[in-house]
């Protein structure tokens, strides 16, 4: 992988972040006919609206507003929350760290379960294990997060009373209790991730196991273990990495719903609260941070893929 590829990829990411910022800003501040009314509601007096417009600089041209905002963002100044008056950035970052904890735990659980599951289903293709896997995972990818969350709560919190349904305790305060509260949300996200990724792993493994080079390896007289775990697995894992990277993006989206249902004070919940309160600076900052995290994850995945896939010449 050469320096020019690195440069090109970074340039592309900068472009991505730029477009993201334009879209977020455009949708939240430019798109509504009058952002002031959106923020204050229908009952505000004309004087209140005019004052707000002045304060936010809404009377200027869209492009000017955007550039003003952008210059602020680049210097780390995201403004202050309209709801609490607190500076936006520290709140967002703290919320992000909680979301990332949730995401990391979910992805860790997913990796531990989805990879062996997918491999198993592929090696036992067509058998009862595979058919069952197919049915269950099919349903798994067809459930929206709130449905999965609801079912998980119904089963584990209400009927079986095993784990708490809502509430958040920081892990740094009390690890065990904190984990207990995170268990259900992590489980919810993991279930959907596991369904997606294990299907992908199975599909890639099946392709690999049917490939010509695996057939040639078998005809070389190598043991089945070696064929599956050395020859097939290597080739199946490569595309899986891309999917895992894409799923990080999915998690970041689905996390919004999960945090809302389980009352986890992460970035998703923060966004919902901000949206309901019409807290413009918070919404803008939250959306940009969320999307940027996704873009960075994509970049990392691309680099990882490029390092591992010898076939692709990145010149």
């Amino acid at each position: 992988m050469s320096a020019s590829y690195l440069a090109r990829r970074l340039l592309a990411m900068v472009y991505t972040l730029l477009v993201v910022s334009i879209i977020v800003f455009g949708v939240t501040q430019i798109l509504p006919a009058d952002a002031a009314t959106v923020i204050m509601g229908e009952n505000a007096t004309p004087e209140q609206l005019a004052a707000l417009r002045d304060r936010l600089g809404l009377n200027d041209l869209g492009v000017v507003q955007y550039l003003r905002w952008l210059s602020g963002v680049l210097t780390g100044e995201f403004g202050a929350s309209m709801r609490t008056g607190q500076p936006v950035l520290p709140t967002i970052l703290e919320a992000l760290s909680r979301s990332l904890t949730l995401a990391a735990l979910s992805i860790a659980l997913m990796l531990v379960v989805a990879l062996p599951l997918g491999i198993l289903a592929a090696t036992k293709r067509g058998g009862p294990v595979d058919v069952l896997f197919g049915l269950v995972s099919y349903v798994g990818v067809s459930l929206p997060e709130f449905v999965t969350a609801t079912l998980v709560i119904l089963l584990l919190a209400d009927w079986l009373q095993l784990l708490p349904a809502t509430g958040y305790v920081p892990l740094t305060d009390n690890l065990w209790v904190g984990l207990r509260h995170l268990a259900l949300p992590v489980l919810t996200i993991s279930i959907i991730l596991i369904a997606h990724v294990s299907r992908m792993v199975r599909s890639e493994m099946v392709d690999a196991l049917h490939s010509d080079y695996v057939r040639a390896a078998r005809l070389k007289g190598l043991s089945e273990n070696r064929v599956v775990y050395v020859h097939a697995l290597r080739n199946a894992l490569l595309p899986t990495i891309t999917i895992v990277a894409l799923d990080v993006g999915y998690v970041l989206g689905g996390i919004i719903v999960v945090e809302e249902i389980f009352a986890i004070p992460g970035l998703g919940r923060q966004l919902i609260v901000s949206i309901q309160a019409r807290d413009l600076p918070m919404i803008q900052a939250g959306a940009v941070v969320l999307a940027s995290t996704y873009a960075v994850m994509n970049l990392v995945a691309d680099f990882g893929y490029a390092l591992l896939d010898k076939r692709i010449q990145y010149g």
């Binding site: 099919y138 449905v147 119904l154």
Partner: protein
């Protein structure tokens, strides 16, 4: 068309998917007539009933018949989701095939932009659009259509490029056929199939997304019996009646599974070589 249907029911996915979606479409179109009771009729004495001879699926926290609400909800949930997907597919296909046809730097710039837009997760994008336009089912549809457009653009572009490389397209160009003929008669019939398959699977995703938006209070508004909204309302009363929350969940899952299966079945049925 009849040929496609015949091939479709030959596979288990196709047959089951078609059956489920057929049932769903019946519910969408004729739900209001099939519903035994008024979905909005409040009946305080009949609250939290489990399934029984009077209310086949039970009643909710206001005593409303769940079966009727679910049937009415079909059009609220599914029809909206279908419209959103169709709009997103149309817009995305035009952008994608146009980009593929133009090629060169225009194509690359457009695709980089599409990639950038896709950096915003669909749910987030929909949330932003709806929160700014106002909470309603219509705005949710618009939001989802916008969220889907870049993904469909990417797919239709890659399909268009793959078809463009085939020798029969080269043969047509070598014959001196005009651009219109090449695109419409040679490329499109072969490009349409993968796009239709992808769109069918997106119906499933759209139903999930629309119901999620309604769940969050940003889509359909009460007292519409939209399924996501029903789940959201039922959450508070989960301990009093599990049925209120289960039936809409099952409905959503059923529709999503049905569209996924149908999409898989169509993938095989539309392949001219099998």
């Amino acid at each position: 068309m009849a040929e496609v249907l015949r091939r479709l029911v030959r596979t288990p996915q196709g047959a089951i998917g078609l059956a489920i979606i057929a049932l769903v479409l019946i519910a969408v179109l004729f739900g209001p007539w099939l519903a035994p009771r008024d979905p909005f009729a409040i009946s305080p004495l009949q609250r939290y009933r489990p399934p029984g001879p009077v209310n086949f699926l039970g009643t909710d926290h206001l005593g409303r018949d769940l079966l009727s609400r679910v049937l009415h909800g079909a059009s609220a949930t599914v029809a909206m989701a279908i419209i959103a997907t169709l709009a997103g597919t149309l817009a995305g296909s035009l952008i994608g095939t146009g980009s593929a046809y133009l090629g060169g730097r225009v194509d690359e710039l457009m695709m980089r932009t599409v990639d950038a837009v896709m950096a915003i997760p669909s749910l987030l994008m929909s949330l932003l659009v709806v929160s700014m336009l106002g909470r309603s089912a219509t705005n949710a549809v618009i939001a989802i259509a916008i969220a889907f457009t870049p993904g469909m653009a990417r797919i239709s572009r890659s399909v268009a490029l793959a078809v463009r490389k085939q020798d029969y397209v080269s043969a047509a160009i070598a014959r001196g056929e005009g651009a219109g003929f090449v695109i419409l008669r040679e490329m499109l019939p072969n490009a349409l199939a993968p796009i239709i398959v992808e769109m069918t699977i997106r119906f499933a995703f759209s139903v999930m997304l629309f119901s999620t938006l309604s769940f969050l209070g940003l889509g359909a508004q009460p007292p519409t019996p939209e399924w996501g909204l029903m789940v959201s309302e039922a959450r508070r009363f989960m301990h009093l009646s599990s049925w209120m929350i289960l039936w809409p969940c099952i409905s959503i899952a059923l529709v999503a599974v049905g569209f996924n299966l149908l999409g898989d079945g169509l993938r095989d049925a539309l392949n001219p070589r099998t």
